[in-house]
Amino acid sequence: MNFYRSQVLVCGGTGCHSSGSGELVKSFKKEFKNHNLENEIELITTGCFGLCELGPVVIVYPEGVFYSRVKVEDIPELVEEQFVKGRILKRLVYHESMDEDKVRSLNDVEFFKKQERIALRNCGVIDPENIDEYLAFDGYKAIEKVLLTMTPEDVIQLMKEAGLRGRGGAGFPTAMKWQFAKSAVGDEKYVVCNADEGDPGAFMDRSILEGDPHSVIEAMAIAAYAIGANQGYIYIRAEYPIAVKRLSIAINQAREYGLVGKNIFDTDFDFELDIRLGAGAFVCGEETALLNSVEGKRGTPRPKPPFPANKGLFAKPTILNNVETYANVPIIILKGPEWFSTFGTEKSNGTKVFALGGKTNNTGLVEIPMGTTLREIVYDIGGGIPNGKEFKAAQTGGPSGGCIPAEHLDTPIDYDSLQQIGSIMGSGGLIVMDEDNCMVDIARFFMDFIVDESCGKCTPCRVGTKRMLEILERITQGKGEEGDIERLENLANEIKDSALCGLGQTAPNPVLSTIRYFRDEYEAHIRDKKCPAGACQELLSYEIVKDICKACGICAKKCPVNCISGKPKTPYVINQSQCIKCGTCIEACPFGAIIKA
């Protein structure tokens, strides 16, 4: 084994990959060669660190120096300074604000301080394509403990004590699911992993699979042992190519080591695992639709009951858990339920991973103990709202969830508290909105998504959501009528009661929750034909303020539809009937003479 004095970790998650981390690795290799440092410094590609906003991210150990937004052009200088001269290249070091000292180690970054990384324990630490590194962090020790010292009943009992709840959205107790499938009668049983992450803006599961695929494989083997299954399927969308690739590598390595296959650890337990690729339909995240898709049928939901625990895949007893749920399992087995319940609240143990997006300074992947308040997530971890704007609301649970307004900023984030205020935990998308976001437009966006993704099997979802979208579009275009809000509420409640699957039943949630907290915005659109946030294009007009206009004519030159006219020395005018409200003139005006009204 080589002795390295330093290790360079380059983030290879999808975020950093698309901002060019692959090129960085090549460039590092080249520079190390130039300086004859190949045998002194080890270069490792890892999974997501969570700070995708600042990608590509590079961390240098043992110092733990955290470099952000590194470009290929920076590499020669970085290598020269950091590795040849032993100095930190200050200009690339992540800094939290201008007046603070730039040189910080990863552990001092505010973004990471409030986090508790359990599901993400190995993400950004190990090389996901190297099973040995997973093994080094107690990998496959949990399955060893389970197979050699525990009965299936013990495993389920332990999971029950830990109180792990499903991280995919609804928060159903994992142990209960396993118990149902174990008690169900069947000659064959299956374990399935739901990696069909479909919420707009959510990427927790992708990051886990990219950063720590073995933890999911190990957990599925444990689940299989607990319920008496020998075959597992991971259903993952084909749009996650890096995750699919690393998962395939991981399964092959596990098979080589005999951790997947026949007679694992010389016991009579066999476990086989296969990947099934999905085409990226939102509805296939619904469990019964997912099972149909794995079977090779059209991805549409089945009525429940029978539940998958009794009649799931190929009509056999099946458990279906989400990626993040599985990622929690091995460490719970190893450290025990008491340890796990030290995190979180009374009814929601552990942590939850959120994909923090929208209007915060730090967007990325965060894992927090349950019970952390939204305020802490947005302001402490997220670093607040950019450009001094006001926080307006946060959307959790994507198209199935709801919004949390400023008055509930101090609500602890757990399953039950979120449900009380009309939202859901969801799979973990968390979109922050500021005063410039129109809540009616947000509701319209999610409804548009649902209409696109509705599978069409049941009428309430297929037709009902379409009608809701039409009303919302009307409102955002200034054609709303009195009674539209009530019509939306009626339709929403009927869809909730009558749609076939969970996705249809929850589809009206964003509308209901925005009406609940921002009814005044709906009313302003309908009665005054105004969008208070200034986001709905059709309700806006652009005007030139006569007193400020210097008649320079720049706006007229930039206008793409030539609807601004004027003469020297007299203020310019916008022809409202031709204006397409693109906003180019506002940006072009050097005097700030053009306003949105």
Binding site: E42, E63, K85, G86, D132, L135, A136, Y140, L259
Partner: protein
């Protein structure tokens, strides 16, 4: 297929390698690698130290480099921090001395006084002339 024993072996070996990322607890060796240090021959000293640590199979040792320590005429300098935070500074090092230092100080915990500074009347005396 790997046996349980083989897996334990892999765990142990890989962890030693990965430890760098978790922070090692033992000795921390710092080599001055500013222009002055490099010109005086710090690089062979650094590589020798690393080779020797690997040869002797020493665990929990961090090797890092630093900029100018400030006494350029005494370069190549090597500073060894023990786990309790105490520091020993070796001066005018070369690969041979570095090898001896790793064996004596890092492996056996015995500081080689001969390679450290000698101060007479507040002035560091060049070890060659002492």
């Amino acid at each position: 297929m790997k046996s349980l024993k083989e897996l334990a072996e892999i765990r142990k070996n890989t962890l030693e390698n990965i430890n760098l990322r978790k922070g090692r607890e033992g000795y921390r060796i710092i080599v001055g690698m500013a222009t002055c240090g490099i010109a005086a021959g710090a690089r062979p000293v650094l590589t020798t130290i690393m080779e020797e640590i690997s040869n002797l199979d020493l665990k929990d040792v961090t090797v890092a480099q630093t900029g100018c320590i400030g006494a350029c005429r005494l370069e190549p300098m090597v500073e060894v921090y023990s786990p309790d935070g105490n520091k020993v500074t070796y001066i005018k090092m070369d690969p041979e001395k570095a090898k001896a230092m790793v064996e004596s100080h890092i492996k056996n915990g015995k500081v080689i006084d001969e390679y450290t500074m000698t101060v007479i009347d507040g002035k560091v005396i060049d070890p060659v002339t002492k």
